[in-house]
Subunit: 154 residues, 4 copies
């Protein structure tokens, strides 16, 4: 069981990150190289876990021999940002199972233009055996609180 000393769930707010596309993430066609969208999405999932849930992947790994393993991703590319464009990244939790998590990271320009939408299906696992573990205790409560908060904000 995971027992993380977590702050009060009531402080949880929907995550929004702003990422300005760097020159080096763009290809000779002048737009972001396709795989970078998955980099942005995975980093958003990591930031969400660390800053919103207060559970960093490094701590999870080192102190609890636990990791969030990606099982599947689906990416829809809707339009391509170029260097200097700001990508607004948002994460919502679509579904929380016993040991599975379905999250969706969307990237848009903040004024109605969608860049991409990334669905990430993950599984909480023990390290290094990669056996499924339950989202329990405060970990589960925090994710559920996040889901509720996002729902209220829509």
């Amino acid at each position: 069981m995971l027992d993380f000393p977590l702050p009060n769930s009531s402080k949880i707010a929907p995550l929004t990150r702003r990422h300005r596309v760097p020159w080096g993430d763009c290809d000779p066609a002048g737009i972001i190289y396709t795989p970078r969208a998955l980099d942005y999405a995975m980093e958003t999932l990591e930031v969400w876990s660390r800053d919103t849930l207060d559970i960093s992947w490094l701590k999870l790994h080192r102190e609890l021999s636990t990791g969030l393993m990606t099982l599947r991703t689906e990416i829809d590319f809707l339009s391509a940002p170029t260097a200097d464009d700001v990508v607004v990244l948002e994460l919502r939790v679509e579904k929380l199972g016993g040991s599975s998590l379905v999250s969706v990271v969307s990237g848009h320009d903040g004024s109605g233009r969608d860049y991409f939408r990334v669905k990430i299906i993950s599984c909480l696992v023990s390290i290094p055996e990669h056996k499924p573990k339950q989202f329990s205790g405060e970990f589960r409560q925090r994710i559920l609180a996040y889901q509720a908060t996002c729902r209220d904000n829509n």
Copy 2:
């Protein structure tokens, strides 16, 4: 219309690449960082276009103002390679539409262990307008020849 001076289609063989996972593509858990699978798959699509079809993306871009835009990807992560592991990458064409291409890149260890399977749905487009273009002439014939060759090899 695309008219590329291409060699005889009969020389086309199924593409297989061997990629040894470098240290820097692995994360603190010791396995490849999730997004690198999409990097490997996209690079396989690029190599296939350049070396198998003899149509490099750079030439396509510079000489024909044309690009292969990714519309959607689906990745299934089946097991995770670590540093030094060899990933055998193979590409097959699932479907060729008028201007769309569905390709599947699979990564395995060469002896029955699957690492990942990446479906890439692309669209041939004009640059910079991003308007769909038809796969025509030798471009289409080559892709169809590749499909036929892969079928014969199974």
Copy 3:
């Protein structure tokens, strides 16, 4: 000659960026993979050009067929950050020549621990000929103003 419509030089302030090391930038030893330090430094140079000087590399490239080409870099690795560590990035201009620029990006933890120091020697060039161009007009004035500001702050 470069003639960029630039805001008043008096608003220039020393650049400081905070970058939290993501999980995916770290290697199986748990520290950032060596080359990422150069990524952070180059991105700092890019951000400085865009946000401090108000000259984005994309605009420089597209509107003036000009680029900042790297001639040489020297990196000293002093200690290695791990995932979740905040790297404070600062840039100072060591020397501005006719068409050359020597900048130093340092990365530290904000409380006395140095991570790395990257010297970048660049040359302003025409694209695609890669012929040296002069830093002139507002471009030069802005860089000199930045140098003066950093000097005053020390």
Copy 4:
């Protein structure tokens, strides 16, 4: 002390790798993004250690709690390859100290055009203390054999 079961030193040959620059390593100016040169050089050092010396970094790390820490790099950028260009990578050992190693990775096009030259100064260290360790036994002999072989080939 490091005692690796190594094959006979007489089989050591100068390392040469061929790396075709992928589309995604190039920037909107159409040339490789500067930091990628350091990626190529570090990967060459890794391949040299694993394939030429038969000492993989992963094994070094896992079985001997030892790592090759980079202290300093110096990169000279001589000309910039574009997508599809083949970069021929070669490594020579400039100096082997007690626990330090100075290696130089050069990248060229195979017909007289130099792309970059990367000097990497490394130190063999214990993990996680990062205390210097001696290159000893077969590890040292293999590196010295490599130096001698490269000398004979010039």
